[in-house]
Subunit: 384 residues, 2 copies
């Protein structure tokens, strides 16, 4: 049974139109089934070279002169990322952490709806999103509403496009429109969708979005996040951390604060260049491979994973309809925690454990092979 | 005249007890007089190796498992930095940008003085500090007081230890005590002092401080900043951006937000590991060289710079008393802007221009030679 599964996986890998892209990554041990690219994407080869060039050439040799082209790097990398999320030039900027970006977006959105008395976030939302909503609501004297049913009191809705536990996908266009019709602004967290799914922020009428670059975008550990603000909204946004990189004339040292009229107004302090360059490398690869092909492989490989679960009798609560499914599948297993630890310690299968009994298998289309999925599910099924 | 100056510089370099440390840095052209280490410190050799090891070994090979030791890296690097600023273990954490750290510190301090109606900051303060104070004051309905004379209405004082234009040093102990006696909390910006001067935060009774690591600490472009909070204060601090890295049990995904009881409560989102590792390399070198020796060289080399100015008849407003002087000296020159640009384009002397007529010569004790200073001042004096 598992032999057939593996044979099928090898065939699928051979026919995979994206298979060549794995060669763009540093693979130190081809036998490891890495299924945690949804937590930390793998290392693009070009990142090694690019970071080395930036350290040796731009920092060590060119020294301070390099700031002439580093200054707007957050905007330029944002423009490279924009097509991957259906945004236009000047609507995305890559900087700081997802949490900081989210704080800016939620505060900015709340300022645009001063008459509304609540922010809505699901109790099942990723912790940092919940904490930020609770924090912002607390400081502005607003309520936190735990559902999206009646949005008449709600100014800001904070939602993940892909649920980090179940990988269930929410329809951005439909939910943005529903919130908008009720007078609320939606802040989308795209962390588990960016670089994996076809996202159409402009077409969906999305106002704010944030996301990370270290999962499917392979930007490196703690790589900077991104802020999207709809182009027709940016000059009305007042973000709460007015640092000097958001100032219209940054080097007029005596000027009063005047925020830039463009997406640069979401910047804060001096951007971390090493992390930004690594993020750029990951974003470039996704853009080159093409988000349509990436999304197609994502649907196919998670579908294969669910088929394998059925074959070996493992219970997965992940959506069967590929249109509603993100990049990982979950498996319920009574020994999930110890099993994930044991597989990792053997360096055969690297997966993710989530309380109380969930094994998460992340399928990152540019690096995950069908055989990784088959090997992992066979190993889980074979556990005593 | 300039020949004698250069001869004296060569003697001083030969006798410099720190001269060996320059070999720890990547020097691509030994003839360049780099006098902008106060904007961007040079590249430690070990940073090249360490970043490469982190990318190849920790990220590419160990993959997600590396988070086990990356998780508390901001605190560990903070502990390495602490002795350089006179702080104890658990009082410093390295993360995010200086602006973000400052926003957290100012907001946190203001919360501890809810009865006070103003924040004090000098109109000559570095722009990002002014902008943050104005922003926070605006959102909390507080006034901005432009002087430190009468602090009876002031809850928070924001001050740089070293003025970014004049390099005049403010006495942290005296001014913290004066503010404290008036009931105000001081947030110190140590950006132009950390890694250069002997700073005694604990002995000064300092409550909050922030600073950058990319100037005298040689941490790399946009390297993460640091937050210092006095140990006896940390468990009362409520910082405004409650991300998941500040949560007491970070991986209990269903928990309500409870901030960590330690300096980790200043953390926000996922830290950028590449930038943090580079910052760590720079901090290590400063710690190994010893801040007393670094500070002594700093006083000596800026003193030599002022002597050279006198010799060639250039006008410097920088303090003559070494105890009141930071790491750069300023020179007033009618053609400052074009002269700095021309010297840089020739790659002989790299200095810094500040409006309207100031040339800034930064002396970074681990990398700047006396001959760099002599060459620069001779070149400025020889300008037509």
């Amino acid at each position: 049974m598992t032999t057939e599964m593996l044979a099928q996986a090898i065939e699928l890998d051979a026919a995979d139109p994206l298979k060549g892209w794995r060669d763009e990554f540093v693979i130190t041990d081809d036998d490891v089934a890495y299924l945690d690219g949804n937590s930390l994407g793998m290392t693009p080869r070009r990142t090694l070279d690019r970071v080395d060039t930036v350290i040796r050439g731009e920092w060590a040799h060119d020294l301070i002169a390099s700031w002439a082209h580093w200054l707007d790097l957050p905007q330029r990398v944002g423009d490279q990322l924009a097509p991957l999320v259906g945004a236009g030039p000047g609507e995305v900027v890559v900087h700081d952490s997802t949490t900081v970006n989210l704080y800016q977006a939620v505060r900015s959105a709340a300022r645009l709806r001063p008459d509304r008395r609540a922010i809505a976030v699901a109790p099942t939302e990723f912790p940092t999103d919940r904490y930020i909503v609770e924090g912002v609501a607390g400081e502005l004297g607003l309520a936190v509403q735990p559902d999206f049913d009646d949005l008449s009191r709600v100014g800001v809705v904070v939602r993940s496009m892909v649920d980090y536990r179940t990988a269930v996908v929410t329809d951005i266009a439909a939910e943005t429109e529903r919130a908008s019709a009720a007078g609320a602004i939606t802040v989308w967290d795209l962390s588990h969708g960016a670089g994996l799914l076809e996202i159409e922020l402009n077409a969906a009428g999305a106002e704010f979005a944030v996301g990370c670059t270290y999962k499917y975008l392979n930007g490196g550990p703690g790589a900077p996040a991104f802020n999207y603000v709809a182009g027709n909204l940016i000059d009305r946004v007042e973000q709460p951390i007015p640092g000097w990189f958001s100032q219209v004339d940054q080097f007029d040292m005596d000027a009063a604060y005047t925020p830039r009229p463009d997406i640069g107004r979401m910047l804060i302090g001096t951007p971390g260049i090493l992390g930004l360059v690594a993020a750029q490398c990951g974003i470039e690869i996704s853009a080159e491979a093409g988000i349509e092909r990436i999304a197609a492989k994502g649907r196919a490989i998670t579908g294969f994973a669910l088929d394998c679960c059925d074959t070996v009798g493992l219970d997965s609560p992940s959506p069967r309809d590929a249109r509603h499914r993100g990049g990982h599948i979950s498996i319920r297993h009574p020994d999930a925690e110890s099993l994930v630890a044991r597989l990792a310690s053997e360096r055969r299968v690297i997966a993710d454990y989530r309380v109380p009994d969930v094994i998460r298998l992340g399928c990152s289309p540019l690096t995950t092979r069908y055989r990784d999925v088959a090997v992992a599910i066979a190993a889980i099924a074979a556990a005593p």
